[in-house]
Amino acid sequence: MPLLEIKVNGRDHQLVVDATASLLTVLREHLHITGPKVGCETGDCGACSVLVDGKLRRACLTNALSVQGADVVTVEGVGGSGRLHPIQKAFYENHASQCGFCTPGMIMASKALLDENPNPTEMEIKEALAGNLCRCTGYINIIRAVKDAAEKMAHGGGDR
């Protein structure tokens, strides 16, 4: 079986994977990194969102071997050891999480947005999160949290 070399949250890994294995399978079942969730596996829900070389991707639709050598960041990798990233903090402070299943994907989509556009409008936030579904109907607080994070990061609230 093919060999995959990949960096996840700063750590290098080498592992043997099936040709059709998704990045999500590799993260969860091989590396036991369970922040990215198994939702629809059709790319519709966004619960598995991760950054691959800085770009937001669906881990469920990403063939693991197609990102050979890539630098992957999951929700586990956005904060520091025992320290929340400003986006995570803003989600916590704005009650942007209810059951929490969509939260890892929401945070990664928010990070991808703020990395590229530190001062987004509300419409830009909505567009950036359009592919992330929350079934607890928490969108208002999520949007509020992204705005709050952007503001705090702009004022030196701990950009990472």
């Binding site: 040709a19 790319g43 519709d44 469920c60 639709l61 050979q68 592919g131």
Partner: protein, 282 residues
């Protein structure tokens, strides 16, 4: 001897050789956003071997002498963000930017949209309206064919001898050309088309000199309307004529019913969107 289950050729020569040797066993994968849905549900057949074409340098986006070249592996996100595409082919930038979600657009490719060619493939509809040519390449050389011909040609014929889709060649819009794009969807973001109407037309005052009006989601594939050509070319775009096109265009459609809409609704909505795009270019 080919004994691996995944190959990632580094250049076109390697890819042709591999695909030619593997024949029907080869499954070409690029962004993976369609194919991985299948693999998430069903195991790969033992005979199937994946050939990843994302390392072949087929992601070029460049304009030369009024012609845009877009590589088959250019992502929908890169096409949407490209300044030159937004300026010279705004219809394509708009259609690509309304497909799926940001994360999917970062991976999905225009070539993949053509090859999977869903009934409602927005990228294919936009390419057809723009008069794009598909360039396929194999060890035997390159072949060019209009998108509508590619869509209706059997796979064995159009991608013979290890051939792959290499790029699209699209004439850029000129100053006397207008365009329109309307997509009916269930919600604003991350939504597949219920149907789409796209148009590219050359206008001289209010006279329509040439027109390519494409309906997506109204037949097995997006198609270029013959009704629009017959009724509009050489005539002024009057409100009465626009209404007539919207009515008569239904003779070319074969709308289906699915979870997103009924055939009845699609027909009613298609007429509205046709009127809308024709009004945009008037």
């Amino acid at each position: 001897m080919l004994n691996e289950t995944f190959y990632s050729p580094g250049d076109l020569g390697q890819a042709w050789s591999l695909l030619s040797d593997l024949g029907d066993k080869a499954i070409i994968i690029a962004g993976g956003t369609d194919l991985m849905v299948r693999f998430n549900r069903h195991r790969r057949k033992r005979s199937e071997i994946l050939v990843y074409v994302g390392k072949l340098g087929l992601n070029v986006i460049e304009e030369t002498d009024g012609q845009m070249v877009i590589g088959a592996c250019a992502s929908l996100a890169d096409i949407t963000a490209s300044t030159v595409v937004r300026q010279k082919l705004p219809l394509l930038a708009r259609a690509c930017g309304e497909m799926a979600s940001p994360a999917v657009r970062n991976a999905a490719t225009l070539g993949g949209n053509l090859v999977t060619n869903a009934r409602t493939a927005d990228g294919v509809a936009a390419l057809m309206a723009l008069g794009a040519v598909v360039v396929t390449a194999s060890a035997a050389g390159e072949t060019r064919m209009p998108v509508e011909q590619f869509v209706s040609t059997p796979r064995r014929q159009k991608l013979a001898n290890g051939g792959i889709v290499k790029q699209f060649e699209i004439p850029c819009l000129t100053a006397d050309e207008k365009w329109g794009w309307e997509k009916l969807k269930q919600r604003q973001g991350d939504s597949r088309s219920i149907l789409s109407v796209s148009v590219r037309a050359r206008m001289e005052g209010d006279i329509c000199r040439s027109i390519r009006l494409v309906l997506g989601g109204m037949a097995a594939n997006p198609f270029v309307s013959k009704t629009a050509v017959q009724l509009l070319e050489g005539r002024p775009l009057s409100p009465n004529l626009v209404d007539r096109v919207a009515e008569e265009i239904l003779s070319e459609t074969d709308a289906g019913t699915d979870a997103r809409a009924t055939a009845w609704y699609r027909e009613k909505a298609a007429q509205v969107l046709v009127r809308r795009v024709l009004t945009q270019i008037a």
